[in-house]
Amino acid sequence: MPEQHDQHLRDQVAKLERIVLRVEEGVGDVGVRVEGVSRRAEEVNDRLQALTRAFEDYVLVAARTANVQRAETRIGVVEGRLNSEFGHYKVVRNVATGMLQGFDTGIVSDDTMRDVGEELMIKTPRYWLAPVLVGLRAWIADEPEICDQALGVAFQRSPDKTSLFMALVLRRQGRGEASLRWLRHYLIALDPLELGREFAMVLESISQGAFGPAGVAMVQERLDEWRSQLLRDESREQAQIDRWRAELERHVGSSSADRFPRLAAISPQWPQMDEALARAAAHGSLIDAYATMAGEVHVPPARVEDHVDDILDQLVRGYDDEELPLRREHAEHQAVVDNGGDLDAARHALDTDLLALDRTHDYLTIQSESALNPGKLGVSRATQRMAVSSCHAWFDRAHALYTRDYRGGVPGDVRAVFDQTHTLAGAVFRLPSWTGSFATPMDELERDLAAHWRRAAQPFLASFDFPWTRRLILPVAVTAGLALCAFQHLGFLLAAVIVGGVWALVLWSQSQTAEQRREAARKQLQSAEQDSLRQLRGAGAEVVDWSTAFRQADQREQEVRAVIADLATAGVPTAAHERRRTETGTPDRSYT
């Protein structure tokens, strides 16, 4: 009976065991599925992120395309308005050019000139050039009264432009003295705080010697006066220094992370070092840009008259102040189109560019702009050099400040940081962060890092040790129990020997496997440690290279200062004017 019970109980236990096994299998299955689901969730998440990025890109592109389209439409509208509102100015400009040509060749009858001049006078009631043309015709036809009246009207409309125009025309007709008188009117009419863009042309004519030595002396005197007047105000000087500082920023080099990859990877000071090196590289770039300018010998144009004509041409063709708001709007939209619809980039481009289109500037700004933005102001290389020369003090100060600032930003102590992120092994072994300064000798650093690796690896390696004590408790107890039973029945002794032996064999093979795993892990750790040490050594070598590169780039600062000092004396225009005297007599060439 008890045997039956025993059998029944055993069956039940076996059944229970099977159920437990099935449950375990079930749980395992669920675990696998959960893992699968989480993997898929991750995949979905990744794809969602990719989709978000693609969508954001799309939105950006769409917005930019819309910006470009809008800007293009606006350009059309602005051009239309320019044409309808100021199109007749263009006619006047053409006529002015034609009239000057007519004077030169003498084949246009006086009546035609009179008719055209008077007609334009009526058609463009606010434009200064129309009465000037009437005056000019009267002057040629020797009608002083009409000439005086017409020029009076023109002078009212735009005193500076009229004076400059007359000064230039008289100059090209060889009336030196009268030309200088108009030039004086012109300079008096100007306010050094509010100079128009055409003043750059006057600078141009001085540098080209268009007004002869007497003109140069007069203009130079006036310019010096303005300069000292404006420079009394510290904030104005500061504005010019800031302008030059912005120019220096353009010469900052690019990042050199590819030259120092190891340093970039492990040093938290790298961004500052990279910045400092890029900024120091500006010296070389500045020397390239300005050294040639200092060394250039300016050859005055073969005929000063050519130049006077060019200036006259620019004055006649240039936009009138009234047109500027529309022209500016046009430039704004054009910048949006040029920058592919990127509004921020367009605004940035305009901020540095619009200055040349802006309404008026003080004299100091005109000088700086002639030096830095000659193309936009339409001045020649000689004028640019002269302007750089008169700006040398600002250039010098901006450069000294620029140099001071990046030098102050060089990190005093360059460090290396090794943590979980620097290698794959670091992540696997969860390496705690280690920091060392490159100021300490390299072998000391290497020893310290190796010791850090060993310390960090110890618990990891220990986890592979085979836990003999823990694993031996059960087998010893069972074998001992069986051995005790041997006092009752000798068969138990045999069982004890067999069980103990088999168990011992199993445990021994398990311990061997654990030992192999430990060995494999140790080897991996060792190679990871070697890898870290290689990185450290490489970065150390790069620190030395970087220091050399930085020192070399930084030392060129003195060369830049020498170039600026050369420029200070190089651009003075007197030499060119002394060589060349203004020709007198009737002009013998045609107006182009």
Binding site: G152, Q156, L401, T403
Partner: protein, 149 residues
């Protein structure tokens, strides 16, 4: 007509000149003055501070430098930072003009703020010394006496 126009314009310029003069009186000169070139006498004094003087002489010298700054430039720095000529292990030092302390530093030593930033400027070798002001402003002085500010 023409004449009147011209006269009007000229008065305008004069008015502006007067305004500019006013500006100059208000804040122009102080800034200019503080940027005046440092003379050789100051260089000499700063160098002598370095050369192991006794406390009394050092205090006297520091006071002379302070007076010189106050008179000539209108602003007295907290102190200077310069390359040290004592030799290894020292590379640079700090001169405190107010407590007349000279502190020499080896490369590994930490320099207290606001002198720390001056250290890297001095290291370039381009400056005679760097003036450190209470406001935190650093004004390096070039070998020719020009102040970078």
């Amino acid at each position: 007509m023409e004449f009147e126009r011209r006269r009007r314009v000229e008065t305008r310029i004069e008015a502006r000149a007067v305004a500019a003069d006013k500006d100059r009186q208000l804040f122009g000169p102080a800034v200019r003055r503080s940027r005046g070139p440092r003379h050789a006498g100051l260089f000499e004094a700063v160098r002598r501070l370095d050369a192991g003087l006794d406390a009394a002489t050092r205090a006297q010298l520091a006071e002379w430098i302070r007076a010189e700054y106050a008179n000539e430039f209108g602003d007295v720095p907290l102190g200077m930072f310069a390359v040290c000529h004592l030799g290894p292990p020292f590379v640079d030092h700090r001169l405190d003009l107010w407590q007349s302390i000279v502190e020499h530093y080896a490369p590994a030593d930490t320099v207290p703020e606001p002198f720390a930033r001056a250290r890297m400027m001095v290291r370039s070798g381009a400056y005679e010394f760097v003036e450190v002001y209470a406001s935190g402003e650093l004004k390096p002085v070039l070998k020719d006496g020009t102040v970078v500010a």
